[in-house]
């Protein structure tokens, strides 16, 4: 460790760390020698990356496949209006290099998946998971367990956040609990509302991502006591915090290889990608079932949902579709995506089928799907809490 040295400029930059007695230049050396992979450059990734960069983590990996979208700016504070449409990892790297030119950044402009995760993660010491979906949560966890990496975790939903340190390496060589010790199986699609339905308070990932950066720094430097074996819970609405103890699940099967995480999370791949699989045609209109829609929502698939009922019906019950009443469709044709998959629904599936047919025949749409049974089927089969009318 002592072979890691600092330039005058670096010493000045890090002076506020160096004068903390229990941190000092040894802590700073450990940071400089460390390699941290940040998975996801979203709401959690933004503060994580900025603080790890500012703190002087020597090598920082950044994984994300996404491009900057206007709706990201509500919480992904690494990006600006000028970045819309650009790859997130590239924008992040440029910003962070300006923040601290003494570091090495490695970017991976790709989906982290079962075929590349081990290869990417193996070159890092610590992984900070800032992803937003269950399949990647389990993938990151399992890859970290297999490779013996510490997984610093945070997750958010609306006003609620969680943080922990998984697979921590104790001084005696034993490992702390991992994500599967806490959540051995994910909730099935459609049963628990996903963030796609719920949203998130923009500042919440700022808080949790900062806590995550704090844990990463503690893991690297050995300063303080990490959240290993503990789950931190924060409710921003009531401003309540709690810390629960997590233990290893002695009955759990050992994690030895990566699996198909979409399948594990109950998400069939590309539900609507292949007409022969789903998209059963009814008089020229492709249909999806409410179960398929639930899976799409839970998996965070990239699609639009349009509700063609009347406003008063929408007020009775809705499933967060965009309301464009059937009679007004022709005035909104330009606002309906021709690239993304679009599910159209009404009360029982009749009106929406008419709308899909009209849009296909008159306007040449090829990416539309009718929700079979409409919102009634959804209320009966997916979400029993909703009223039927």
């Amino acid at each position: 460790m002592s072979q890691i040295t600092f330039s005058k400029q670096e010493l000045e930059r890090y002076s506020r760390h160096l004068i903390i007695p229990e941190f000092n230049i040894e802590g700073q050396r450990k940071l400089k020698g460390a390699r941290v992979l940040v998975v996801g450059t979203g709401g959690l990734g933004a503060p994580l990356l900025q603080y790890l960069t500012a703190a002087g983590v020597g090598t920082i990996g950044i994984v994300d496949f996404d491009i900057v979208d206007e709706s990201n700016l509500q919480r992904q504070v690494l990006f600006t209006v000028d970045d819309i449409g650009k790859p997130k990892v590239e924008v992040a790297k440029q910003r962070l290099e300006k923040l601290n030119p003494h570091l090495t950044f490695r970017t991976y402009n790709t989906h982290l998946n079962a075929s590349n995760a081990l290869e990417i993660i193996k070159d890092f010491d610590v992984v900070a998971d800032g992803t937003d979906n269950f399949p990647t949560r389990y993938l990151v966890n399992d890859a970290c367990v297999i490779l013996g990496k510490v997984n610093v975790y945070a997750s958010i939903f609306r006003f609620e956040g969680q943080a922990s340190v998984f697979n921590y390496l104790y001084a005696d060589g034993s490992r702390g609990p991992n994500y599967r010790d806490l959540f051995p199986v994910p909730p099935p699609p459609g049963l628990v509302p996903s963030c796609a339905e719920g949203g998130v308070l923009g500042v919440l990932p700022g808080i949790l991502g900062s806590l995550q950066a704090n844990e990463v720094i503690k893991v690297i430097t050995g300063v303080g006591e990490t959240l290993a074996g503990r789950l931190f819970l924060f409710d921003a609405a009531g401003f309540t915090t709690r810390i629960l103890r997590i233990a290893k699940d002695q009955t759990a099967k050992a994690i030895t290889q990566l699996i198909d995480y979409e399948e594990f999370c109950g998400i069939p791949q590309q539900v609507m990608a292949d007409e022969s699989q789903s998209g059963a045609r009814q008089n020229g209109v492709r249909e999806v079932t409410v179960q398929q829609l639930a899976q799409l929502i839970t998996s965070g698939a990239d699609f639009d949902l349009i509700d063609v009922r009347e406003p008063y019906e929408y007020d009775i019950v809705n499933i967060n579709g965009r309301l464009i009443p059937k009679g007004e469709i022709k005035d909104h044709v330009d606002e309906i995506s021709r690239q993304r998959q679009v599910v159209v629904h009404c009360r029982s599936g009749k009106r929406s089928a008419d709308v899909v047919r009209e849009l296909q025949d008159k306007y040449g749409f090829e990416n539309l799907y009718n929700l079979k049974g409409g919102v009634l089927a959804w209320a009966k089969e997916i979400d029993h809490s909703l009223p039927v009318y």
């Binding site: 709401g43 990647t136 051995p184 998130v200 998996s299 029993h384």
Partner: protein, 99 residues
Amino acid sequence: MIRIFIPTPLRKFTAEKSIVEVQARTVAEAIQGLALSFPEMDQHLFDSDRNIRKFVRIFLGDQDIQQLDGPDTALKSGDEVSIIPAIAGGKTDGEKVRR
């Protein structure tokens, strides 16, 4: 009375209440009581064999009931039971998912 902390994803079944009070002698009774008060929640808590679902993690105080006596864990008045949900992240409607 037992206080049950309701996590955000389940609050839509409790009229947005974050704490529900029930009378119960065990964790299983407390969760049954919760499901009785809010029937829509039942299917989210119990499987078809009336076992508490595997992804529903329940803590008494700061301890996982799996480290105690599971659903048979005894409760006394004033105990606090928490349901801990698996939450994945902050993607909002219309945005692409990061994988």
